[in-house]
């Protein structure tokens, strides 16, 4: 893939005309990765939804894969934070992953051999291939999350937008997720993740610390300073390895 994955200029995102996050400047290349880090209500999920074309831009400019936002949906994969009815739907894990291929073929075209191979590879990467025939509603939360991630992978998209992708994942699940991300980046896909997880954010090329505005923007080792984290989360934090340690409380955040 050539060109740019995401270009945002003086971008404000929100609901209707009310901005919840302003002043976003972003430039993401193919194969690059950006983590959106912030506390609840900081605007990271809203920004991700705007990038996915689910919310209109409040103000500023936004291009996705070289086109106005919303015009490249076939080349974008989005993982939402919540799924509305996973426990009611009579679907097997493999049916959920196959959904990722729905818009990759014409309306009446049958599933191809290539579709099946991609679906199997995606499930294998997330270590859920052995769960393929199990009903989704019988799986644990972590297993379901891995199935949803496999669906994202099955899209073979140029841009992955992931909202809290590691929520509910255990250690093997996280390891599988990291392998999957490396696979996606190696084939040129760009990745944007919204996360609370500092360890996950550290693996990205770039981190945006958000709290209704952009607190800091840059490589993780430069951006994640105790001062910036204090401003972002409202409590003093210091990064020790992959962990954050609380050091002091902020009173006026």
């Amino acid at each position: 893939m050539s060109g740019t994955a995401v270009v945002a200029r003086r971008l404000s995102v929100g609901y209707g005309s009310r901005a919840v996050l302003s002043g976003v400047e972003a430039f993401l290349k193919p194969g690059g990765s950006t983590a959106l880090v912030g506390s609840n209500g900081s605007g990271k999920s809203t920004l991700l939804k705007t990038l996915a074309g689910l919310l209109p831009v409040v103000e500023g400019g936004l291009e996705i894969l070289g086109r106005p936002v919303g015009e490249s949906s076939q080349r974008v994969a989005y993982l939402s934070q919540f799924h509305q009815s996973g426990f009611v739907l009579p679907l097997r894990a493999i049916d959920v992953v196959r959904m990722g291929r729905f818009d990759q073929r014409s309306r009446f075209a049958r599933r191809s051999r290539a579709d099946d191979v991609i679906v199997s590879e995606s499930m294998e990467l997330l270590k859920v291939l052995e769960l393929a025939d199990r009903p989704l509603r019988d799986l644990s939360g972590g297993q379901q999350q891995r199935v949803y991630l496999a669906q994202v992978l099955a899209r073979r998209s140029d841009l992955l937008l992931l909202d809290e992708p590691t929520a509910g994942l255990d250690a093997p699940g996280r390891a599988a997720y990291i392998d999957a991300l490396n696979f996606e980046r190696s084939r040129g896909a760009a990745i944007v993740t919204a996360t609370h997880d500092v360890g996950e954010a550290s693996m990205c090329d770039r981190v945006l610390l958000l709290a209704g505005r952009v607190i800091a923007d840059g490589p993780p080792n430069v951006v994640m300073t105790p001062e910036n984290l204090l401003e972002t989360f409202g409590i003093g934090l210091t990064k020790v390895g992959d962990q954050l340690v609380v050091t002091e409380h902020h009173h006026d955040h």
Partner: protein
């Protein structure tokens, strides 16, 4: 054995009723599956009641009942959209307001007209044994339309059941397909009310699809279970109606709901036994 087959061999009313019931069952199996999976039971119920003033009005004016039912359904669907667009009220509140308002209007219309005395029951509970050939034709056409639309929209409909945001993120017009689904529910109610009645069609939308949800691992299988349960309920209900002189529409729906509870009990027992063994 004769008691089980004879009523349908030599009685034209029973044959037409059985055919109508099969057509209603097949239509409701497809549409009801989406009603159950998307949690749209309340709008389905509201539509079933909302057609009442339309039907009553049409009968007072000497117009086709089905046309009146269609107007009632359109007012319900359009009204819900109007209220939610112009207020911060939830969908449920908007549906509830229109549901009770239209039902009340229907009862007022029926009670104020001498022409409609006694017709309220047939509107609500249908005339299973008085199905005309034109009703059968309308029901068959409705089934065909539902089938074609469901095949054409299978992927976006499935995505909508799964996750509305994902549907839109993949470039499908989620709101458009949601409205199409509402239209299918409304159309099913409008066409089926003459057979099973406006109240009981709601039962045929929910009970067989509910059984399907308990038993199936895939949506296609759920629709097939719903169709089988609907057809079996029609047969057993009509049989009970014939032998015991019960109201036909109510007997069919009662059978479907009874099957739901039998299956629910069976599934729960099976899970309990598996839990004990584990």
């Amino acid at each position: 054995m004769g008691n089980f087959i004879d009523p349908f061999l030599h009685n034209g009313f029973m044959q037409r009723a059985l055919l109508a019931g099969i057509l209603v069952s097949l239509t409701c199996a497809i549409v009801g599956t989406y009603v159950v999976l998307r949690g749209m039971a309340f709008i389905g119920d509201a539509l079933a009641h909302g057609v009442l003033p339309g039907v009553a009005g049409a009968m007072i004016l000497g117009m086709p009942a089905m046309l009146g039912a269609a107007v009632g359904a359109a007012v319900m669907v359009g009204g819900v959209g109007f209220i939610t667009a112009r207020s911060k009220l939830s969908n449920d509140t908007a549906i509830g307001l229109l549901f009770i308002g239209l039902l009340a209007l229907g009862v007022v219309l029926v009670s104020s007209s001498n022409k409609l005395t006694g017709d309220l029951e047939s509107i609500l509970f249908g005339q299973f044994l008085g199905v005309a050939n034109s009703d059968l034709l309308a029901q068959a056409l409705a089934l065909l339309v539902v089938l074609v639309v469901s095949v054409f929209s299978a992927r976006p409909f499935l995505l909508l059941c799964f996750d509305g945001d994902l549907t839109r993120a993949m470039g499908y017009k989620a709101q458009w397909y949601h409205r199409l689904m509402l239209l299918l529910i409304a159309g099913t109610v409008v066409v089926s009310f003459q057979t099973v009645g406006s109240l009981l069609v709601f039962g045929m939308l929910l009970a067989p699809a509910g059984v399907g949800a308990l038993l199936a691992k895939r949506i296609g299988t759920m629709m097939m279970w719903a169709a089988v349960i609907g057809i079996v309920s029609t047969y057993l209900g009509l049989l009970a109606s014939y032998h015991f002189s019960w109201a036909a529409g109510a007997s069919v729906v009662l059978t479907a709901v009874a099957i739901f509870f039998v299956v629910l009990t069976g599934v729960s027992l099976k899970k309990s036994v598996q839990g004990v063994r584990a």
